[in-house]
């Protein structure tokens, strides 16, 4: 990601050079062993993810109502998904949310990072302040607060009222309810911003100096120096934000009280999955939905990786 200057480690290359490639030095083996030992708790924790992972793959091909034994139904769940209007609605909601909020969120994050990179006084304070929302943003308390802020008696409509504008019913009107969640997602731009900031600081100043000497404008400098050099970071943030927002659940659940309402306008894919599995007791279908989501995310990630060859510039 960042432009690193490689520090050659002393011992290993020397050992390799001394013809010890076939034989790993005892100190290296020691380090490997203790490394694995430290990783052991994580491996054990994997049991909690790997087993349900494969269980859900099996359940995706069954009809399972949680109380009685699952029975095998083959591809019936997947076939039903194509004809399920609520599933299609949930895909629509999730896609709109993702493809609107992620670009805006990254743009704002980059913008703020650029501003902070100019070396302001009290940079660490600003950085923490902007980072804080992204820590809290997915929490139940903040989403509930959001519901009140955008509610009929909330601050947003109160503020608009000062200008004589009658604000819409943000939370209860199906047209606007998703926008409140998009705004929430953009508000939590802090975490990609911090990463952008770190990346911007890695860009060697001498490039900018050289460019100004040659008479390049700020915008030209941004376009030709900054963007290419931080493109790996943009790529990283893009992937992480995409994957994260496809999986949104809490915000939709709390904002709509678990219904995905009003009129399924906040029915995120994972929220619908939860409803199917736990309120309608169709766990087989829900498992199939989980695997479909996995495939969708995998496809988009693959597209991004392929596209990255064309716009991501790695210095080394």
């Amino acid at each position: 990601m960042s432009v690193l200057i490689k520090q050659p480690s002393g011992a290993a290359p020397a050992a390799a050079a001394a013809g010890g490639k076939q034989r790993i030095r005892p100190s290296r083996r020691r380090k490997q062993r203790s490394g694995y030992l430290f990783l052991l708790p994580w491996f054990l924790g994997m049991l909690f993810t790997v087993i349900p992972f494969f269980a859900s793959l099996y359940l995706a091909f069954t009809d399972y109502n949680l109380f009685t034994e699952p029975n095998f139904v083959g591809l019936a769940n997947f076939q039903a998904m194509f004809e399920d209007p609520r599933l299609i609605q949930s895909l629509k909601v999730t896609f709109i949310y993702t493809f609107v909020s992620v670009p805006i969120s990254l743009a704002v994050a980059l913008l703020v990072a650029l501003v902070l990179n100019r070396g302001l006084q009290g940079l660490s304070i600003y950085r923490s302040v902007y980072y804080l929302p992204s820590l809290l943003g997915g929490s139940v308390a903040i989403v509930m607060l959001w519901r009140y802020i955008f509610g009929n008696d909330g601050i947003v409509n109160g503020f608009l009222g000062l200008f004589g504008i009658q604000g819409p019913a943000w939370v209860t009107d199906p047209q606007f309810s998703l926008s409140t969640l998009i705004v929430l997602n953009v508000w939590t731009f802090g975490s990609p911003m911090v990463i952008f900031l770190a990346g911007l600081r890695q860009v060697p100043g001498m490039y900018y100096e050289a460019a100004s000497i040659d008479g390049a404008s700020k915008w030209r400098q941004f376009r030709s120096i900054t963007l290419p050099l931080i493109s790996p970071i943009i790529f990283f943030n893009l992937i992480m934000q995409l994957i994260g927002s496809f999986q949104t659940f809490t915000q939709g659940y709390v904002m709509s009280g678990g219904t995905g309402g009003p009129a399924d306008s906040t029915l995120f894919y994972n929220l619908y999955l939860y409803q199917k599995g736990f309120t309608e007791f169709e766990m087989g279908y829900a498992s199939a939905m989980a695997w479909l989501l996995l495939m969708i995310i995998a496809i988009f990630t693959a597209i991004n990786f392929i596209a990255s060859k064309f716009w991501v510039f790695y210095d080394n």
Partner: protein
């Protein structure tokens, strides 16, 4: 070969092993659940219900009496608002950790019963059902087995804020004879005469209890005897159209006015003073009268005498059920017996969950009732004076029907779909859910 220096490795290994051990120990203690039994002594029952803090307080008082009368049994309770309660209950059953005694909603009874998750209450000698009328028992019976015992009977009614209507100079029509048109006129008048500050009607279009009564008034059974959907598409369309017309005339608040704020009387729009009337389960009348500033009167639902037949029925407010996999079924049965047949316990809870189904208990607590609760009990009695049409157990899929109604109500509210189309969609989806 020279021996390698020994200290670095053992220290790292020890550290690593310690981390692993600590991790395992922590995860082990974290999972320790509340297993109830002690040695031959204390049984702890887990009892869950929905409601607000007030109901919980009264219930706890009754439970202390139960514990005194039954040394060796303690009861641990949990309660939530009704919507989160339904979710949590499903998750607990699915996770294999069901409560012992639970409150069950009418619309969920069959779904749980037909999956074998509830115990047959008739199979417990500890639970005495002799005094309970057969019509009440039948509301919780499936294939001859009793899966839910009514906690009490209630029905829905219209509460009107008389203080507001008096101030506005609007007379409340006679509730024994008023029609749905009369109600619409009344509501519109209230909004006009309060200058739009208070909306005349604030009833919830999305709750199925309204359409159920409307259907019955028209000679239809919303849910039929053989567990099917019996309401006609026209009735549903009329129900939606009524709300659209009322909204247009101003009697009902505009789209988006009602937000989800929770189900307690204190949080209601009636208590806020922005609507003048609401439909409520009348066992909650006291709660509303206390929460609302001003005088609130309890009226019958419109259309009782102008339709084909009476729409009212005496419904179980909710049902007590025992989990089939409960570890202490006998003690659980004792608790349900106490809740149903014990006059002392009933004196603590009074009519929170409806009129007690054991007539002796109902008589015993009548002198203790406050004026508001007496109003409720009297209304129940007078409604049941006439012969009411029969009512049946909600079929499986009833909660999907409830959700469909809720969704379509929002669509109609914002004009995204016409009442006719909404009714058509409702029939399709509801029939699909019930006949699955």
């Amino acid at each position: 070969m020279k021996k390698t220096a020994s200290t670095p490795i053992p220290r790292r290994l020890v550290l690593g092993a310690a981390v692993v051990a600590a991790g395992l120990a922590l995860s082990a203690c974290g999972g320790g659940g509340a297993t109830s039994s002690g040695s031959g002594g204390n049984v702890e029952l887990n009892f869950v219900f929905w409601g607000d803090a007030n109901r919980a307080k009264m219930t706890e008082a009754a439970l202390r009496i139960f514990e005194k009368k039954n040394p060796g049994i303690t009861v641990k309770t949990e309660y939530q608002d009704s919507a989160p309660y339904a979710d949590k209950l499903a998750t607990r059953f699915a996770g294999g950790n069901p409560p012992d005694v639970l409150a069950m909603a009418n619309r969920s009874l069959l779904e749980y019963a037909q999956r074998g998750t509830l115990a047959d209450l008739k199979s417990f000698p500890e639970l005495n059902l002799d005094k309970v009328p057969e019509t009440t028992l039948s509301r919780g019976e499936v294939d001859g087995k009793l899966y839910g015992l009514a906690t009490g009977v209630t029905t829905i009614g219209m509460v009107v804020n008389k203080t507001i209507t008096d101030q506005a100079g609007v007379t409340i029509p006679d509730d024994k004879t008023w029609s749905w048109e009369d109600y619409a006129k009344f509501a519109t008048e209230v909004t006009q005469k309060t200058g739009g500050k208070v909306y005349g009607a604030g009833y919830d279009v999305a709750t199925e209890t309204g359409p159920i009564i409307l259907a019955r008034q028209r000679g239809e059974d919303f849910y039929t005897k053989d567990n099917k959907l019996g309401v006609s598409e026209k009735t549903i369309e009329d129900w939606f159209q009524y709300s659209v017309d009322l909204r247009k005339s101003g009697g009902y608040p505009p789209a988006g006015f009602f937000e989800q704020i929770g189900g307690s009387p204190a949080q209601s729009y009636l208590a806020k003073g922005t609507v003048a009337s609401q439909i409520i389960p009348i066992n909650n009348f006291r709660g509303y009268n206390e929460a609302v500033e001003g005088e609130v009167v309890l009226l019958r639902i419109p259309g009782e005498t102008t339709g084909e037949r009476r729409g009212y029925s005496a419904d179980p407010t909710m049902l007590w059920s025992i989990a089939a996999k409960s570890k202490h079924p006998k003690e659980a049965a004792k608790l349900v017996d106490f809740l149903t047949n014990d006059a002392e316990g009933a004196a603590e809870v009074l009519t929170q969950r409806g009129v007690p189904i054991n007539p002796e208990v109902a008589d015993a607590i009548t002198p203790k009732l406050s004026a508001d609760d007496k109003t409720f009990v009297d209304m129940m009695a007078s409604i049941q004076e006439d012969d009411l049409p029969p009512a049946y157990v909600y079929p499986k899929g009833a909660s999907v029907v409830a959700d469909t109604l809720k969704q379509l109500t929002t669509e109609v509210e914002f004009g995204r779909v016409s009442p006719a189309d909404a009714a058509k969609t409702f029939m399709e989806k509801s029939n699909a859910a019930i006949n699955k």
